[in-house]
Symmetry: C2
């Protein structure tokens, strides 16, 4: 039995159908390169007929040198009652210029008669004409058997005839699609088995997640002999999304003995998933299996203690295998062991039961109650510990600030000005700056003023700024939590602020971010001196 599985990614085509997703040409190029780099075999990059931007993209990427992947253009069978050569959709597909083409065709009799309003016979001709036309022109054609499973349930004979039409016309593989995503694993298994037994061409599987089983459905089809898996890399797609390829690949490769991507690519799975999430500009689902930030996070005290003894006790695989890592979280249900680990980084001689630990945990709880969460803001937590231990001397004092916001000169534009007054060891200085909105102005004024005292801050810049409304039902008086990530070109650190006022919350996080940089500089100086 061949254990090699072909991976066919449709992030750029079916994924683009997801609510809130819209890719620029530059985004698409980035994603193509990332998928190619980890050894994905086929990348479906768009529908050149229904979206002119996709056609443009195909023409643009022709010269892209890919190591592993082949690009695939997607489209439908010819329209009813015309010749393939007269079909605008097929013309666009050929213009895309890819060697590989995915053609979807109807396999559910109800769709043929009630949606596209033609005869069952004409639909079969649409499938065979289209595939024949393209294969004669040297194309490799995947047949996406749309609604195959629903069709098979409704009219088994007709669904199989549609596959036969595609196979006879030279399709390179028959991809069984659970287009509405409603099937369950035992159904997918049974129907895939019937197809694998009846046809000699390779069989593929394309699942949607409307029953919450897209991953399991894909695995069930593979177990029955499907050798090509379609999905989107991190699962987004229309309605409830597509099969999540990062999960499917990890399951196949780590648990079922199949080979989907080169073994040496496995450790880039997490990084690739996150890169695609960032490029698509979605908020990444941190509970995502294998690649989410929480996938190997331990919160309960007992779990933390056990995972520290032996990670196998509460982890299904070793996270480093797929490039992820283990985290121990702080919270009211976790024991003291996580907090103490962080404390001991700063003061190695403090024990789990000491008065200092108790004080820090008390303060931590108060802040958590106010809406703080240090789980993603380890740098602010470090400052909190230092403050509680008396191991912290502020590098500056923000004496005062004022912000003025007003309607911008031009329609739709808004202006803001900020003034800050800073005191460093008895010397006071003021600065002012303007910006896009009050937070941006304040950020600029603060940095400009502090650079007079600490030129090293010129090297730092913000890389990320996130706002979360904590209880949005209090509307504009809600508490907001701001997370800021800062870099100095080498390291990156994240700080947090919470307030009813977005300016207050941002300021807390900005000040912490600057303090951390100055603290690191001081530590470096001390180390060099010793």
């Amino acid at each position: 039995m061949d254990r090699k599985i072909s991976v066919f990614d449709s992030t750029l085509r079916d994924g683009a159908q997801a609510e809130g997703i819209s890719f620029s040409a530059e985004d698409k190029l980035k994603i193509v390169r990332a998928l190619d780099a980890i050894g994905v075999e086929f990348i479906e990059a768009g529908n050149p007929f229904s979206n002119p931007k996709d056609l443009e993209f195909f023409q643009k990427v022709k010269d892209l040198r890919l190591e592993n992947a082949r690009l695939v253009a997607f489209g439908s069978t010819r329209r009813k009652d015309i010749l393939p050569q007269d079909d605008d959709n097929l013309k666009s597909i050929l213009l895309a210029g890819t060697e590989h083409i995915a053609i979807f065709g109807k396999c559910w009799d109800f769709h043929v008669t009630d949606i596209i309003n033609t005869t069952l016979e004409e639909n079969l001709r649409m499938i065979s004409d289209t595939i024949g036309y393209l294969t004669e022109r040297g194309k490799e054609v995947f047949f996406d058997a749309e609604h195959f499973f629903d069709g098979y349930k409704n009219n088994r004979e007709y669904a199989m005839k549609a596959l036969k039409a595609a196979s006879d016309a030279g399709a390179r593989s028959l991809v069984l699609c659970d287009t509405n995503g409603g099937c369950l694993p035992h159904e997918i298994a049974e129907m895939t088995r019937a197809v694998v037994e009846a046809f000699d061409v390779p069989v593929g599987i394309h699942c949607h997640n409307d029953s919450g089983c897209a991953v399991a459905n894909t695995l069930a089809a593979v177990a029955e002999g499907a050798s090509e898996i379609q999905g989107t890399f991190i699962g987004f797609g229309e309605r409830c999304g597509n099969a999540n390829l990062s999960t499917v690949i990890a399951n196949l490769q780590q648990k079922m003995g199949y080979s989907a991507i080169p073994e040496e690519s496995m450790e880039r799975l997490t990084e690739t998933a996150r890169f695609i999430g960032e490029t698509a500009n979605i908020s990444f689902d941190e509970n995502m299996p294998y690649v989410g930030r929480n996938a190997f996070s331990h919160k309960g005290g007992m779990h933390i203690d056990a995972a520290m003894k032996n990670s196998r006790s509460f982890e299904h695989i070793e996270p480093s295998v797929i490039g992820n890592s283990r985290r121990f979280l702080m919270s009211e249900v976790s024991g003291r062991s996580t907090v103490i680990k962080n404390i001991q980084k700063i003061a190695p001689n403090i024990s789990k039961d000491s008065e200092e630990t108790r004080m820090i945990i008390k303060r931590l709880k108060e802040l958590e109650h106010m809406g703080y969460q240090f789980e993603g803001a380890e740098s602010s937590f470090e400052l909190l510990i230092r403050k509680q231990l008396g191991k912290y001397k502020p590098f500056f004092d923000l004496v005062d600030f004022k912000i003025i916001g007003e309607r911008g000169q031009e329609a739709g534009e808004h202006s803001a000005y900020a003034m800050v007054k800073i005191n460093v060891e008895g010397t006071t200085k003021m600065s002012a700056a303007e910006g896009d909105g009050p937070v941006n102005a304040l950020d600029k004024a603060l940095r400009e003023c502090l650079e007079n005292f600490y030129p090293v801050l010129k090297k730092t810049s913000l890389t990320d700024y996130k706002v979360r409304v904590l209880d949005s039902r209090d509307a504009t008086a809600s508490k907001v939590r701001v997370l800021i990530s800062t870099t100095d070109g080498v390291n990156e650190w994240t700080t947090i602020g919470v307030s009813k006022d977005i300016i207050g919350a941002s300021l807390t996080a900005l000040v912490d971010a600057i303090e951390i940089k100055l603290l690191r500089e001081l530590e470096l100086k001390i180390r060099n001196y010793m």
Copy 2:
């Protein structure tokens, strides 16, 4: 074969282990009532030993009259080498005062010897002593067979011995736990079958989602004879979460012929899921099967056309069955049919191919390019259409505004002041207000000023305020998208604003929200007059 499945919800216990989740006592009461109302049979509400707040909660809810549900307290077997009556954990559980108790015990030999460091024999005694002690006191005990599947893979005989110890001691059911969440459906099926065949007591299933298969694993166990399903109602839990009960219940009931909750409760599934999400204060996963806002949303043009003809063509079930609804989205890949549906609400005589439609679509695309998304902000989209059609006369002109922000008097407090100047049909008025942050101050000043002209606005208030940073990598100069929901006590509507400046974005959404209310009032007057 009995088709009745017992639902056991652990949102308040295992769900509370999820990163970012922390329930107040009031939250817990709300969730208990919501679960009870739709007919969930068992609600695991906490661990009275490890969390004193949970013990308090159990004592508080004793008098709560529930229609259907029984509360369950959770804890571990007695510690090694002591008597049950000397175990503080068991004392706390008894103090909780519930009739039902879930006791977890080790089934994986490696955990016994390497994590809790005792002998295999002593662990069996810990199980039987604990369950015996509790059943003698009249308790109904669920045995949560921790790591059962990993244990069975490693030492089948020992895992089965652990179950036997529980069963012999009087456990009401044996709940097989995939604690690390690493199992796949075929494994769960095989091992569950072995247990169902070997024991006469009911068998339960408790899955985690680390392989992305928690739902499918639960269904596989039920198909093999498990009759009790554990999970959390919307799937949150440690690491990658627990089996999502809303998905499992819908699959069992709508597709597999089982009865999990009363049939008349099914249409409250969506509302209950969303209520729990809101109470837990998490951002709801809108792609969630069955209950997500996107679960029955259609974006692609072809899909929209087909779903309008017959919803069955692209929906696995009828959304109203589980209390959800169908949505047609606007976007570059959707055809004109959605847009035209919205246009025709305002101007019924405008056709799909008219110049006005083309203009509106062009403007829509420009705004989408700027970061607008009208998918959740239908009211702003209505104003956009009216503006393009010339069917819109603003009710007021915001002539100017100024905002002043400064450090608050007390540490950690921040103040903001706003002034606005409004013109209504030649009359100019100014107002000022202070608030928590500049947006809150501006909101108050704007309303106060406008109420002079339009007293009806006194009835409106904001119910929701959401901020999303669009490209967070531009840090504090990133574009933000603000969504505001407003109510007048009867209707609720949502408006949107996008800007580099949070104040500008908020202002756009606030102004739209007020315009919509005034428009509705005018429409009402016209209707009453006619």
